[in-house]
């Protein structure tokens, strides 16, 4: 059998992977001189931008591209491992746009000179490649492999700040948690393969849709349920959902801020992409089994995240728990999948897109402040509006967005989309839990926002950084665009 590969379909991950290699080679052969790191940053940025351009071209062209296919002659219909459809395009766009911001933040982080630059960008691009591949994966093996491609570089990135105890601790914690979750997920995946006899998501879906008649002899019907629970648990680790959420705060705080931003947006988006793919394509007919579990996890996750965030005094820890809470909001519509299959997945993806934009603004400003104040406590933000008004207004806007209030319309519409899916799906109790959580969330977001505008007697330095300013500017522009015209996202996912 000769497989033909559609290189235009895999252009985006290919560009990212080649750029990663290029960065490593350049780092090895360029003479070590001050400012050399900046060149690598520009190369990495160029690679991501080129990938983004290709993606835009693919989106304009429209249509669905497939490659790495198994022909129909080998039993069943034609199944492909790599599919470039609307879902893939949206996720890839999200990951790449977030990637641009993270690379810009990295350029500021790396000026300190304590971190090896070439390795940093190589690993970063590796993660992006994995995330992009994951969104396009349509078989279990490729899903697991690309999920690992997302996770493995992140351990190293977290630990990259050598001689920093917190960073090492964070890396180890992340490593252990991630490895355990992968193991659990692999177990679930192998069970699923054993029951259905296929790794392709569409074939698994066809198997379950046809009823259990084709189940191999001697396989108990409960095996599928076990497989589902194990796969869910594995992904729950990745997206920091309850009860596998405890690692979030320590890891976010210990990691360099660009890595924390990457974890909270790109790595999380990848986790959700995999989860949505498996649940809504492969296991669509099993929704009765997994939807209630997802509903309970969503309710617990948003509550735990919000309650833990209320007590935080450190900016990154607060954002960590807030992002756990936001994971709960993203999960919630999936629980309504049985009632409104189309809207449910769309609402999750839409919320994820809105969340990515607003969260990156927050991380950008936190990065800016962290350059002047190492500890990065919430108290360090007092009076920010008086010495750096633009940064303060950006942060205030993103926090109000995360809280979901006007003028942060992006956040408000995101919440409305999720609420609509839940209410339409008939999950009244989950809607009420989420409503209560919105209020808890508002408490810490508004308390932080109020600090920005509280006058401070002592003078403070004005933190400045070109790349961070560009990153924040980009993220704010996208968030504003989402506020005025959320239709951009809604029509893309719908």
């Amino acid at each position: 059998m000769i497989q033909s590969i559609d290189y235009t379909a895999i252009a985006v991950p290919l560009i990212l992977a080649l750029t990663a290699g290029l960065v490593l080679v350049l780092d090895a052969f360029l003479p070590a001189r001050p400012g050399g790191g900046r060149l690598l940053g520009v190369v990495a940025l160029g690679g991501v931008a080129a990938a983004l351009a290709v993606l835009v071209a693919q989106a304009v062209q429209g249509g669905v591209r497939r490659t790495f296919c198994v022909p129909a002659s080998l039993g069943g219909g034609e199944s492909c491992s790599f599919v470039l459809d609307r879902f893939t395009l949206v996720f890839t766009g999200l990951v790449l746009a977030a990637g641009v911001v993270v690379v810009l933040l990295s350029m500021a982080e790396l000026t300190s000179g304590r971190v090896p630059v070439g390795e940093w960008y190589f690993l970063l691009l590796g993660t992006l490649t994995g995330a992009v591949l994951l969104a396009a994966s349509r078989d279990l093996i490729m899903l697991v492999v690309s999920l690992e491609l997302v996770s493995l570089p992140v351990f190293a990135l977290t630990a990259m700040r050598r001689y920093d105890g917190r960073a090492s601790e964070a890396a180890l914690k992340l490593f252990l948690v991630s490895v355990v979750s992968t193991a659990i997920m692999l177990f679930g995946v192998s069970l699923m393969y054993g029951v259905t006899g296929s790794v392709y998501l569409d074939r698994i879906a066809a198997f379950y849709a046809s009823g259990q008649s084709a189940a191999p002899a001697g396989v108990a019907p409960g095996v599928t349920t076990v497989a589902i629970v194990l796969v869910l648990a594995g992904f729950a680790f990745k997206v920091a959902a309850v009860p596998f959420h405890f690692w979030a705060a320590d890891v976010y705080q210990g990691a360099p801020i660009p890595v924390a931003a990457l974890l909270s947006v790109i790595s999380k988006a990848a986790g959700f992409a995999g989860l949505i793919l498996i649940l809504t394509t492969a296991l669509a007919s099993q929704a009765a089994v997994w939807a209630p579990v997802v509903a309970v996890i969503a309710a617990l996750t948003m509550t735990a995240g919000n309650v833990l965030a209320m007590r935080q005094r450190q900016a990154v820890r607060l954002l960590a728990w807030s992002s756990v809470a936001q994971s709960g909001y993203i999960l919630a519509p999936l629980a309504a999948f049985a009632g409104v299959p189309r809207d449910a997945a769309g609402a999750s993806v839409a919320y994820l897109a809105f969340y990515a934009a607003m969260n990156l603004v927050a991380f950008g400003v936190v990065m800016l402040v962290a350059r002047a104040r190492e500890r990065n406590d919430l108290d360090d933000y007092q009076g920010l509006a008086f010495h750096s008004p633009v940064a303060a207004l950006s942060l205030a806007f993103s926090l109000i967005c995360l809280a979901g209030l006007p003028p942060g319309l992006a956040g408000l519409f995101a919440k409305v989309v999720v609420f609509r899916a839940i209410v339409d799906g008939g999950l009244g109790w989950l809607a009420v839990v989420m409503a209560a959580n919105t209020v808890i969330g508002l408490y810490y977001y508004i308390a932080w926002t109020a600090r920005l505008f509280t006058p401070l007697s002592t003078g403070a330095s004005r933190p400045r950084s070109g790349p961070v300013a560009v990153a924040v500017g980009l993220a704010v522009a996208v968030t504003l665009a989402f506020s005025v015209a959320p239709q951009v996202v809604l029509s893309a996912v719908g």
Binding site: L405, P406, F413, V416, V417, A431, A435, I446, Q487
Partner: protein, 539 residues
């Protein structure tokens, strides 16, 4: 002419946006605020002039654009007889607040920021009354939260932080429940268009879902209105807010809740309303009695006025609960009257607090009519109007609400509503009682100096005795400050020109609507008839 409504929103928004330009220093910002809000008020007056009064039940001057098709959200604005008075009231109170602000800059300084906040607030308030799309209504309903939070948290009194947090958390909880209710309506009826939904009179929504939706929407609006027992955020917020904040909170923000009942809850969910009206009525009369009794127990003038709002809004809710045209008209009338009178009361109370340095009735002493004849008279006028003296605006809303309760809609238990009417009647007596007690304490009697001053007061201990516990410990300089901020009786300044400009329009309108209630009732009447499907113009 449909651009008029758009301009009503665009002018304050553009004003707020242009304030971010660095050219505006302190005083210029204040004057700019007056100019922008005056222009907005002018536009509101123009809307009132071009409004077709012969057809007040119909939505006029509509603007209808698609905004977010993915959410079915349309930018749909319009006015009818229910919303027009509220829009004009909002524009008027905002203008008066800016006039007041220019005359007396806020204690916290930062005039530009305050003007910016108030203009954003105005956008939200006017937008709420103009919106004809459920989600758009919700968006505007939420727009006011953050600005009002900052008004209280930055320019408020001593416990401003706690009050501001309580305000925003409480009202957001209400809003979240409101959103769920709106989404239930949407899921059932399949449209967000208020005009279409109101014309359908609940068609397409099952009775059980109507009850669920009315419960959710009602709780959301009741927090804002506020209805007992969801009112506990209100006294703190009103007391701690600066004068302009209290005026807008009482004058407009509370109306957004009651307006929601008239615009969404009752017209769109008639069966849900019929099922839950007895509960609404019961909680309303409990609120009337509770508010009055709480007022009797208050020492702080602003806090007392805040609790009086709970009682007055109880009458408004009782009017809605009757589900009759009379009751609805009463509620809408009471809405406007309360906005005018309580706005005036908070202005006057703020003026008193600025002069005496306290709003504590005991420390104010008596004899205000002698020491500050004009302010004392205005306070008396506002109180008498608020307690519902016939001939002033406060009377009609309460009287008609009780009349509505006398003959509630068919299907509601008449004996129950007769009980409500009786309890409400007792409430009016209690309302009169607390206002008269307050007046007798503050305006009448022998003038007693608020803070004894003179050589006798030289040590910190004595200052502390005078100021009462909880005040900062004073030293010699603080004594001087006390003398400065609490000038002795002879030197208290009476009403100023700036205050008169801000207050007289409210006095005039209170008298006008008191002697000529038909001016307002003719406007709301046809719209109310349309809600109950009785055909326009018959009222």
């Amino acid at each position: 002419m449909s651009w008029l409504l758009l301009a009503l929103l665009a002018v304050p928004l553009a004003g707020a946006a242009s304030l971010t330009a660095p050219a505006f220093a302190g005083r210029a910002a204040g004057r700019f605020g007056i100019a922008v809000s005056a222009l907005t008020f002018l536009l509101a007056v123009v809307v009132a002039v071009v409004f077709d009064y012969g057809d007040a039940g119909r939505m006029q001057l509509q603007t209808d654009w698609s905004w977010i098709p993915g959410l079915d959200l349309r930018f749909h604005l319009g006015v009818d007889g229910i919303s027009l008075p509220l829009v004009v009231l909002t524009a008027l109170l905002s203008l008066l607040c800016f006039v007041h602000l220019a005359w007396r800059p806020p204690d916290g300084g930062r005039v530009r920021a305050l003007v910016f906040t108030l203009l954003v607030l105005e956008v939200g308030m006017i937008g709420t009354f103009l919106a004809l799309d459920l989600l758009l209504f919700f968006v505007f309903f939420e727009v006011v939260l953050v600005p009002m939070y900052f008004v209280i948290a930055i320019w408020g009194g001593r416990d401003r932080r706690a009050a501001a947090v309580k305000f925003i958390l409480y009202t957001l909880l209400g809003s979240a429940v409101l959103l769920l209710g709106l989404l239930v309506i949407w899921a059932q009826a399949g449209t967000l268009d208020m005009v279409e939904l109101a014309a359908g009179h609940g068609a397409g929504i099952a009775r059980s879902m109507q009850i669920v939706a009315f419960l959710a929407v009602g709780i959301g609006l009741a927090v804002k209105t506020p209805m007992w027992p969801l009112h506990t955020w209100l006294p703190d917020a009103h007391t701690e807010a600066p004068t302009v904040g209290s005026v807008l909170l009482a004058g407009v923000l509370l109306k957004m809740g009651s307006y929601g009942f008239a615009r969404i809850a009752i017209p769109i969910l008639p069966e849900g309303a019929a099922a839950l009206a007895p509960w609404l009525g019961a909680l309303a009369v409990v609120g009337i009695i509770y508010g009055s009794l709480a007022c009797l127990a208050q020492r702080d003038l602003k806090r007392m006025i805040a609790y009086s709002s709970v009682g007055h809004m109880g009458f408004v809710l009782l009017g809605f609960a009757t589900l009759t045209p009379v009751g609805m008209n009463a509620a809408l009338f009471g809405n406007i009257a309360h906005g005018l009178i309580t706005g005036l009361l908070f202005f006057v109370a703020g003026g008193i607090k600025e002069r005496y340095g306290t709003a504590d009735m005991v420390r104010l002493g008596g004899g205000m009519l002698r020491r500050l004849p004009y302010i004392g008279s205005l306070l008396t006028f506002a109180c008498v109007a608020s307690l519902g003296l016939p001939g002033l605006a406060g009377f009609w809303g309460e009287m008609l609400a009780l009349l509505g309760a006398f003959r509630p809609a068919a299907g509601l238990s008449r004996p129950l509503f007769l009980v409500f009417m009786t309890v409400g009647g007792i409430g009016t007596v209690l309302t009169a009682a607390y206002f008269l007690v307050m007046l007798s304490r503050v305006t009448h009697g022998r003038p007693r100096e608020t803070v004894p001053v003179g050589p006798a007061l030289a040590s910190a201990e004595e200052v502390r005795v005078v100021l009462g516990p909880g005040e900062p410990v004073a030293t010699g300089t603080a004594v001087a400050e006390v003398e400065e901020s609490h000038p002795p009786a002879g030197r208290l300044a009476d009403v100023t020109a700036g205050e008169l400009v801000a207050w007289v329009p409210l006095v005039a309108l209170t008298i006008l609507f008191g002697v000529w209630p038909k001016a307002l009732l003719d406007l709301t009447g046809p719209a109310v008839q349309a809600i109950f499907g009785l055909g326009g113009g018959a009222g």
